[in-house]
C-alpha cells in the first residue's frame, strides 16, 4: 500500500497550477484534500506520474455568499462549509448534507470541490450541487469557463473537466424564499458511503407547496434531479392530503432511481430505502424548520 513514484508539484497560484496541468495533461492529478485520491494511489489503483498539489495556492479556500449563490473555493474543507454560519443561513442544505460526509477527520481534510470533481455516485456534494442547480468554475491556461452541473457529470467518477483544467470553485444556487430543505441518508455504519440518500427542497407559499425537487446519493450513476412538482405542487403541506402526496412522491422516486447491487445491499433494497427516505425527508421538511441536522 505504497504509491508508485510520482512528481510532486506545489504551485503557489492558480496560474502556476494551470501551467503545470497544461504541461502534464493526462499524466497529472490534482491533489486537494486527498481523501479519495491518496487511498487510490496507495492501493495503486491509479499511478499518475504527476501530482499537482494545490494546497499551497492562495485564495482558494473562500466561502462567499451572494444573493444568488454560495460560492465555495477549491480548498474549502467540508468542515469549514459545515461550520459556516453565513452559508448555513443562505442555504441550510449545505450543512445538512455536509454533516453526512464521512467522519470529522475526513471532513477536516476533504474539500467540497474535490468531492464534486471526484464525481462518486456515493458522494453527497455532487447530489447537493445538482439539487441547487449549481455551477462549476474551471480555469486552465486556455482561460476560464463555467460548467452547469448537468454538463459537468459525465458518468460515475467521470466529469467533463478537461485534463488541463482546475476546478477552482463551485456555486450552489440559493432557493426562493419559503423553501425548506432536508437531507437524509442511510449507511451500514455511521459515516460510511450511503446505501441510499436523498436531499429535497420544498417551496411553500401560503401553506401550499409550489415547487419540490429531490436528488439522490448512491442510487443514480450521475447526479439526477427529480421534479416532484407534479405530485406535490398544490398540496397543503400540513393537511391530511400531504401524507398521500408524500407516498406518491416516494413512488415517483422509486421509479426514477436506478440503483445497483453490491455486497452491502441489493438494488431492490436500495430502491425501497430511497423511497422511504424520501417520504421521511418530505415529512420532516415541512414539520421541522431546519430539517435533519444529524
Amino acid at each position: 500500500m505504497k504509491p508508485a513514484p510520482f512528481v510532486h508539484h506545489a504551485p503557489r497560484t492558480v496560474g502556476e497550477a494551470a501551467a503545470v496541468l497544461a504541461q502534464v495533461g493526462h499524466d497529472g492529478k490534482v491533489l486537494a484534500g486527498g481523501q479519495s485520491l491518496v487511498p487510490i494511489l496507495n492501493m495503486r489503483l491509479a499511478s499518475p506520474a504527476h501530482l499537482v498539489d494545490i494546497n499551497g495556492v492562495e485564495g482558494l479556500d473562500g466561502i462567499d455568499v451572494s444573493d444568488e449563490a454560495v460560492r465555495v473555493g477549491a480548498l474549502a474543507r467540508h468542515a469549514a462549509l459545515a461550520r459556516s454560519e453565513d452559508a448555513y443561513a443562505a442555504l441550510p442544505l449545505l450543512r445538512q448534507a455536509t454533516l453526512n460526509v464521512a467522519h470529522p477527520a475526513i471532513r477536516n481534510r476533504g474539500t467540497t470541490v474535490g468531492s464534486i470533481a471526484h464525481a462518486d455516485p456515493a458522494g453527497e456534494m455532487p447530489a447537493v450541487l445538482a439539487l441547487c442547480d449549481g455551477v462549476v468554475e474551471a480555469v486552465s491556461a486556455r482561460g476560464r469557463r463555467e460548467i452547469g452541473w448537468q454538463d459537468f457529470f459525465a458518468g460515475p467518477l467521470e466529469t467533463t473537466l478537461q485534463a488541463d483544467e482546475l476546478a477552482v470553485a463551485v456555486r450552489f444556487g440559493r432557493f426562493p424564499t419559503g423553501t425548506r430543505t432536508a437531507f437524509r441518508e442511510s449507511a451500514r455504519r455511521h459515516g460510511d458511503y450511503a446505501l441510499a440518500g436523498v436531499g429535497v427542497m420544498v417551496t411553500v407559499a401560503d401553506g401550499v407547496v409550489t415547487a419540490a425537487r429531490a436528488s439522490f446519493v448512491s442510487v443514480t450513476d450521475v447526479p439526477s434531479v427529480l421534479d416532484l412538482g407534479p405530485v406535490l405542487a398544490g398540496t397543503e403541506a400540513s393537511s391530511e392530503s400531504w401524507g398521500a402526496a408524500v407516498d406518491s412522491a416516494a413512488a415517483a422516486v422509486r421509479d426514477h432511481v436506478q440503483p445497483e447491487s453490491d455486497i452491502h445491499a441489493t438494488s431492490d433494497y436500495r430502491r425501497m430505502l430511497v423511497g422511504e427516505l424520501t417520504r421521511r425527508v418530505l415529512v420532516e421538511s415541512v414539520t421541522a424548520a431546519e430539517g435533519d441536522r444529524r
Partner: protein, 821 residues
C-alpha cells in the same frame, strides 16, 4: 496492608505511555532495515508456471528477489502443523513461498527485499507470474460436495472428521416426546487487529546470532520455530514481542511465512530486514474464522428439559490447517454452555476451501457453538410456549453439581469438567439487569408508537486458562524496584497493570515500584503464549507463586538481620517491619543488598553487603548451600485442566418496520470470571469483546465471490463496527472463584464476544416473529426475510401465532402459563 491492590479498579499503568504515542510497535523499530514486500497470488487456485522477475531486478534499490526454489533446506519445506490431532488425518500446511501451486488469493509467491517498502512494491509490480488456473473450491457447500478438490490428495476436501458421543443419542431422540431440527449458518469474520502482522530481524554475523522482533502472541513459539527453520541453536536466537496493537488470535499462529523469510533474508544479506503487513495483506494473507454450517437436533420433554442433543456441523478451515482443528473442537465441546444436554453426540467435518486459512479468533469456535445451543433453547421455548429464561433455567447445571464432568475431551486434551459457576444466580442477575419481566409492558408501549422491539438472551460457558504452563520471575533491586517477567505476550490487555497488582498485593510493595516485562525470550525463555483467555489465569498464578517465594526469602533475610522470627514480620509498602513494632524495620531494597554478598561496593547501600561490613556469620558460607544470591524468585503454574468462566447476555433491539434497519437499544452483560484482579480491566475486556461480537452479529462478513476473490478486503467494505455502532454496555458481575488456581481467577478475554450473535438473533426473532437462523444479519437480509415470511416461505414463531390468535399483545409471561399440546 495500607492499600488493597488486588481487586481494585485502578487505571492501567501502560495507558499514559500508549495513549501519548510512547508505544513502540513493530513498525516503530528498525528504521535502518531493508523492507520486504511480497508478490501474492491473485488466484484462488492455480499452478505456478513461470515467474519472470526480469523487469524488477533493475529497479534501483532492489536487494534481492526470491522464489521457492531459492529457499534452502528446511526453509523450503512445508510450514509446521502446530497442533496435530488423531482425527486430523489430512493436515496440510503451506510453504513460506508457494511451491508449484497456490491455494488461496494472497498466498505469497515471491519475496522482494529492497531499500524501502516503496521500492519493494515498485519491484513487485514489475514481476510477472504466469499461472495455470485451476477450479477453486469456495464455500462450505462446494467443499462438502467434493466434486472439486483443494488438495488433490485430500478426498472430499475433508481435513478432519470427528465424532464424540456421550450416552445413546439415537435411543434418546427416539424416546423424546418432542424433537426439533434447526439448520444454522454462521459466516466468516476475522480478528482484524489495528496493527497487522510484522517481523523485523537483525543478524549478528560475528556472533552468528539472530535477534528478531515479531508482532506475535507467542515470542517463545516464534523463537523455537525460527531456530528450527534456520537450523540455529536455540541459544543463538532471541525473540521479542514489542508493543503489539491487538492480536485477538491471529497472531498466535506461527511461524507465518514472513517470520521465516525475514530472518532468513537478514542472515543471507547480513543486513536487518523488516516486513510490516498492510491492511489488504492482512485480509488475504493472515487468517479468518467462524464459518460453519450446522444441523442441530434436540429431543426434549414437555417441560423443555433436554433429553438428547445431536449436532452435526461443517467447518470451513480454509486452504491449510497449521493450527490443527482447535476451532471445531472448541465448537463441539463448548456449545453445551451451562446446560446438561442429556445424551450428546457431536460430529463435525473440517473442510478445505481455496480461501484464507481459518484459525482462532477471539471466542475461537465458541460463538458458533453458543449460537447452535442458544438457537435451540429459544426454539424449544417457542415450541412449548414457555418463557425462554425458564427453559434455560430448567436445563442448567446447578452449583451443587460442580465440578461437572461432561465426559468429553476439551481442546487441551483434558476432560471437559466445569470447576465452578452459579448459573441460576447469573440468570437472576441478567434478568434483573435487562428488566426481563418488564419487557412485555415496554413492548406494548413501543408498539403503540409504531415501533418494533424484541428481547434476546444468550448464555455461555468458556473454558479458559488452558495449559500447559506459564512462568513468573521476580527480582527486587537494591533500590527497591521490583522487576517482574513472564514469557507470554501482551497485545493491549493491561498485563503491566494486573500483574503488578498481583505482585504489589503478594509482596506488599507499591504498585509504582513494580515493572512488568512480557514476551521477551531474553527475560523468560519458558512460556507458551497469550490465547484462550489464559494470561491472567496462567501467568497471574505463576507470578503470584513467584511472589510468595520472594516474600518468604525476604522475610528470612530480614528476620536474620533484625534478629526476629519471620512470622513476626510483615511487608508494608516495600518495608519489612515487625508487626506491632513498625520502627524495627528495613526496606526491601536493603534486604536485596543483604541477599547478595559483595566483594565490591558500588554505592553506599552496597557497603552493607561487603566482606568487611561485619554483617555475616563467619561460620557460614556467604551464600547458604541451598540458596542463591539475589532477592529473586521464580515459579511456574501448570494446572490439571482449564477453568470455566461463564456469562449471560441480554439485549433489546429495535427493527425499523419499513427499512429493516436494526438498532441495539440496550445490551446487558453478566459475567463470571471468578475473582477479579481489576474490575475496570475486566469491564474493558467485556466491552471490547461485545464490540467484536456486534461486528460478527450485524456487520462483518467475508464476501468471497465464486472465483475465490475477497471482494471486501479493506476497512471500507469489511464493516468493523465504529464506536457509533456499539451500544452502551451495561455490566454486572458474579464472582464464583475457581478452586483450581491460587487466586481463584478465570479468564475474561474472550467472554464479551461469545454469545452476541445468539443474543441478537434471539432479539430480532422476538421482534419479528419468525426464526433467525443465519448470522450476521444486515438490514437488507432482514428485509429479504420479511419478504419470504410474508410469502409464507418462512414459518411464524409459535408465540407470534398464539398472540395474534389471542389478540392480546405478545407477552411471554402470559405464554408461559399456557399449557402446550
Amino acid at each position: 496492608m495500607t492499600t488493597q491492590m488486588f481487586g481494585a479498579p485502578i487505571r492501567r499503568k501502560e495507558d499514559p505511555r500508549l495513549v501519548s504515542g510512547g508505544g513502540r510497535y513493530l513498525d516503530d523499530l528498525g528504521h535502518d532495515a531493508l523492507a520486504a514486500a511480497f508478490v501474492r497470488s491473485p488466484h484462488a487456485h492455480a499452478r505456478i508456471v513461470e515467474v519472470d522477475a526480469g523487469d524488477a531486478v533493475d529497479v534501483e534499490g532492489v536487494v534481492g528477489i526470491y522464489v521457492h526454489e531459492d529457499l534452502p533446506g528446511r526453509i523450503g519445506e512445508p510450514l509446521p502443523l502446530l497442533i496435530p490431532h488423531p482425527t486430523l488425518t489430512h493436515g496440510r500446511t503451506g510453504y513460506a513461498l508457494a511451491r508449484d501451486e497456490v491455494n488461496h488469493v494472497g498466498e505469497p509467491v515471491v519475496m522482494v527485499v529492497a531499500t524501502d517498502r516503496y521500492v519493494a512494491e515498485d519491484a513487485c509490480q514489475r514481476i510477472r507470474v504466469t499461472y495455470e488456473q485451476l477450479p477453486p473450491v469456495v464455500g462450505i457447500d462446494a467443499a462438502r460436495e467434493g466434486a472439486l478438490l483443494v488438495h488433490d490428495d485430500v478426498p472430499g476436501n475433508i481435513a478432519a472428521h470427528m465424532l464424540q458421543e456421550v450416552g445413546d443419542v439415537e435411543s434418546a431422540l427416539a424416546a423424546s416426546p418432542h424433537t426439533l431440527t434447526l439448520e444454522l449458518d454462521i459466516e466468516r469474520s476475522a480478528c482484524t487487529p489495528m496493527e497487522g502482522r510484522g517481523v523485523y530481524a537483525r543478524w549478528d554475523d560475528e556472533r552468528r546470532e539472530l535477534r528478531l522482533w515479531s508482532s506475535t502472541q507467542t515470542s517463545t513459539g516464534v523463537r523455537a520455530a525460527v531456530a528450527a527453520k534456520l537450523d540455529l541453536p536455540l541459544a543463538k536466537v532471541e525473540c521479542i514481542a514489542p508493543d503489539v496493537g491487538g492480536g485477538f488470535g491471529v497472531k498466535i499462529v506461527h511461524p507465518w511465512p514472513e517470520e521465516v523469510l525475514v530472518p532468513w533474508a537478514a542472515r543471507l544479506l547480513g543486513r536487518p530486514v523488516k516486513f510490516t503487513e498492510d491492511r489488504r495483506e492482512h485480509f488475504i494473507s493472515a487468517a479468518h474464522e467462524r464459518g460453519q454450517l450446522q444441523t442441530v437436533t434436540v429431543g426434549f420433554d414437555d417441560d423443555g428439559r433436554l433429553l438428547a442433543l445431536d449436532v452435526k456441523f461443517w467447518h470451513d478451515n480454509g486452504a491449510y490447517t497449521p493450527y490443527g482443528i482447535i476451532v471445531p473442537i472448541i465448537t463441539s465441546t463448548q456449545l453445551l454452555g451451562p446446560y446438561k444436554p442429556g445424551a450428546y453426540r457431536c460430529e463435525f467435518w473440517s473442510l478445505y476451501t481455496n480461501t484464507v486459512l481459518v484459525t482462532p479468533y477471539r471466542g475461537a469456535g465458541r460463538p458458533q457453538g453458543c449460537f447452535a445451543m442458544e438457537r435451540a433453547m429459544d426454539a424449544i421455548a417457542d415450541e412449548l410456549g414457555i418463557d425462554r429464561t425458564e427453559v434455560r433455567s430448567r436445563n442448567f447445571i446447578l452449583p451443587s453439581q460442580m465440578p461437572y464432568d461432561h465426559g468429553l475431551l476439551f481442546q487441551d486434551g483434558r476432560p471437559l469438567k466445569y470447576d465452578s459457576g452459579d448459573f441460576p444466580a447469573s440468570l437472576a442477575k441478567i434478568k434483573a439487569l435487562v428488566g426481563w419481566d418488564d419487557f412485555a409492558a415496554y413492548r406494548v408501549e413501543a408498539e403503540a408508537e409504531g415501533r418494533r422491539v424484541g428481547l434476546g438472551i444468550g448464555c455461555y460457558v468458556e473454558g479458559t486458562g488452558v495449559g500447559p504452563y506459564e512462568g513468573g520471575h521476580i527480582q527486587i533491586e537494591t533500590s527497591g524496584r521490583v522487576n517482574v517477567s513472564t514469557g507470554l505476550t501482551s497485545q493491549g490487555q493491561g498485563h503491566e497493570t494486573v500483574f503488578a497488582q498481583i505482585v504489589a498485593e503478594e509482596l506488599g510493595v507499591r504498585l509504582e515500584d513494580v515493572h512488568v516485562t512480557t514476551g521477551d525470550t531474553r527475560k523468560m525463555a519458558y512460556a507458551v503464549g497469550t490465547f484462550a483467555s489464559r494470561a491472567a489465569v496462567m501467568s497471574g498464578s505463576a507470578i503470584a507463586l513467584a511472589a510468595r517465594n520472594v516474600r518468604a526469602k525476604a522475610l528470612r533475610i530480614a528476620a536474620d538481620a533484625l534478629e526476629v522470627s519471620p512470622q513476626d514480620l510483615e511487608i508494608v509498602e516495600g518495608t519489612v517491619r515487625v508487626k506491632g513494632a513498625p520502627a524495627t524495620s528495613m526496606s526491601l531494597g536493603t534486604v536485596s543488598v543483604l541477599s547478595n554478598p559483595l566483594r565490591y561496593a558500588f554505592d553506599e547501600a552496597a557497603q552493607a553487603a561487603t566482606q568487611f561490613a561485619g554483617t555475616f556469620d563467619p561460620d557460614k558460607p556467604p551464600v547458604a548451600e541451598d540458596d542463591e544470591p539475589g532477592l529473586e524468585g521464580r515459579d511456574f503454574y501448570s494446572p490439571t485442566q482449564a477453568t470455566f468462566a461463564n456469562g449471560m447476555h441480554a439485549a433489546i433491539v429495535e427493527t425499523d418496520p419499513v427499512t429493516a434497519e436494526i438498532r441495539i437499544l440496550r445490551y446487558c452483560v453478566v459475567h463470571d470470571c471468578g475473582t477479579m484482579i481489576n474490575p475496570m480491566i475486566v469491564e474493558g475486556q467485556v466491552h471490547g469483546g461485545v464490540a467484536q461480537g456486534v461486528g460478527g452479529a450485524l456487520y462483518e462478513r467475508m464476501a468471497y465471490d465464486e472465483s475465490g476473490q475477497l471482494l471486501n478486503a479493506s476497512f471500507m467494505d469489511f464493516l468493523v463496527p465504529y464506536a457509533s455502532e456499539v451500544p452502551t454496555i451495561e455490566t454486572d458481575h458474579l464472582e464464583t472463584p475457581s478452586p483450581l488456581n491460587p487466586l481463584g481467577i478465570k479468564g475474561a478475554g474472550e467472554a464479551g464476544c461469545i454469545p452476541v450473535s445468539a443474543v441478537i438473533a434471539s432479539a430480532i426473532e422476538d421482534a419479528e416473529g419468525f426464526p433467525i437462523s443465519r448470522m450476521p444479519i444486515s438490514p437488507n437480509d432482514l428485509w429479504e426475510l420479511r419478504r419470504q415470511h410474508a410469502a409464507g416461505e418462512i414459518p411464524s414463531l409459535h408465540r407470534a401465532t398464539r398472540s395474534a390468535a389471542r389478540d392480546a399483545g405478545t407477552t411471554e409471561a402470559t405464554e408461559a402459563k399456557e399449557t402446550t399440546a
